[in-house]
């Protein structure tokens, strides 16, 4: 009897002792079960997130930039406020390999109506509409309208990212601004040196970009080659070429055109340097006063120094629109001092002072000051 009581007491004590352990075991099982449920939930959320990300990735994206300026000058441009650019970009990653890009620019906020299209001041202009097909990571083909791959500024010119609102004079004057055509681009790496090229064919220069064909007798062609060297923060050098046989109807002064240019861009710590040179040889066949060939020549050298949110810059810019004659020459030597204040990565305030000494003796030298606010609508 006593033994039975002892056994019962022992069993009760054992039960008390084991109870928390069994409880802990049950709790651990519960935690394990909940953890597995949680993992399942996370995985399903991850799937949903991937779906949403992919859907967004393939959606049309809208971005752009806008800038407004206040100008004082005694030169050919108008002083006062200017709503300089409002550009809208539409982009779509159609597939992994195919990408669409377009840019429509409203310059000087034009007032466009059906009845007075010719009276519009400013510009409403489709600057780019193109498709990129990247068939390999380092090779792509672009068709449509695109900025001429030449030098640096021709492509890399958007106001939120460049030092000045005033582009160097020879840009768009020697190499054309745009090409309606096709370009093949490639890149090749040898060790840490990257060589890239853009080879393009197009309609050539026409007085009006109407996107509906070519008034030239032959196609224009061009090439841009660039080397990125593993020196400094950035060290790029390159050359550009362009050949265009212009139709007499396009511009009687410029019947055949061969252009070459060189460029370099260097960044070292807080210092930046960028320079371009271009020389265009024109062989007129319908030149009104003389049939002699002539050259357009231009170059600029630009320095900048970055300190926190400030960028200080200087540029020397030269352009000669006809090296054989100073008469009716639109070129000048321009010295520019520039201050940029980057409010954040999308907003820049710029203060610029440009002092121009013109080549044509019949025209006056002039200055131009610009205060601007530039916003990247990313």
């Amino acid at each position: 009897m006593l033994s039975a009581i002892k056994k019962s007491v022992f069993a009760i004590i054992l039960g008390f002792l084991l109870c928390p352990v069994m409880g802990i075991s049950a709790t651990l099982e519960e935690i394990d079960r909940r953890l597995k449920n949680l993992e399942g939930t996370v995985e399903s959320h991850q799937d949903e997130m991937d779906d949403i990300t992919n859907r967004f990735k393939n959606n049309m994206s809208v971005s752009g930039y806008a800038d407004t300026e206040y100008v004082t000058t005694n030169g050919p441009d108008k002083p006062g406020f200017r709503l300089h650019h409002f550009s809208v970009f539409l982009k779509k990653q159609v597939s992994e390999e195919l990408r669409f890009f377009s840019e429509t620019e409203y310059e000087d906020a034009p007032y466009v109506t059906a009845n007075s299209p010719n009276g519009v001041s400013g510009k409403l202009f489709v600057e780019a509409v193109n498709f990129d097909y990247q068939w390999r990571p380092d090779n792509s083909v672009r068709v449509g309208r695109f900025f001429t791959p030449a030098g640096i500024w021709s492509v890399d010119h958007y106001p939120p990212f460049v030092l000045t609102q005033q582009r160097p004079q020879h840009i768009r004057e020697i190499f054309p601004q745009l090409v309606d055509g096709a370009a093949i681009s490639g890149r090749h790496a040898v060790s840490s040196v990257f060589a890239s090229y853009d080879l393009y064919f197009g309609n050539g220069e026409t007085p009006n970009f109407d996107g509906s064909g070519d008034s030239n007798t032959t196609m224009a062609a061009g090439l841009r080659a660039n080397l990125a060297l593993p020196i400094a923060t950035l060290f790029e050098v390159g050359a550009s070429f362009y050949h265009d046989k212009l139709a007499a109807s396009a511009d009687p002064k410029e019947s055949k055109k061969d252009v070459y240019g060189v460029h370099t861009k260097i960044e070292l710590g807080s210092f930046g340097f960028q320079a371009e040179y271009a020389d265009g040889k024109y062989e007129p066949t319908f030149f009104p006063t003389t049939n002699l060939p002539f050259h357009k020549k231009g170059y600029y050298a630009q320095f900048d120094y970055n300190i926190n949110k400030w960028t200080l810059g200087y540029r020397y810019d030269f352009f000669d629109s006809n090296t054989s004659s100073a008469i009716s020459n639109t070129g000048a030597k321009i010295n520019s001092a520039i201050v940029n204040y980057h409010i954040n990565k999308n907003v820049v305030m710029k203060l610029e002072h440009h002092l121009a000494k013109v080549i044509d003796p019949a025209k006056n030298d002039y200055y131009k000051n610009i205060v601007s606010l530039v916003v990247n609508l990313d």
Binding site: F101, D132, D156, A189, T233, N306, N376
Partner: protein
Amino acid sequence: MRKLYIALFLLASLLGMHAALADPIAVIVNSANPHQLSLDDVKSIYADRAIAWAGGGRIAVYNLPADEAAAEIFARKVLGMSASEAAAAESNRVVSNVARNPQQMKRDILVVAIVARTPNAIGYVPKSKAEGKPGIRILFTLD
């Protein structure tokens, strides 16, 4: 006594901040990725020059927001510029339609998770966020 608590709190905050700033940056890839990359290679990737792995396949490039301390350290040490300058350069490439391999910006915890499940991905995070995490390999660290 209250002043002492405040002083201790501030001291602890400063020490914590110092520890956070002192955390090295780990450049990470997926653990299945066999490639060894140098600092110059990583620079080429983040400068949009190298966009594919040697064996093929586009590199999925992950960046941190420019306002994070780790992004500043990475940009200074790898790209030789500030994080905001690096972000502006990437924006410029995208806006100018010349970006061949646009980067994606994520918080560090997500960069670790994404790189761990994406064989072609590369990213960088504070080393403490990467150490011991399954599915990733630390290429090198930046002190």
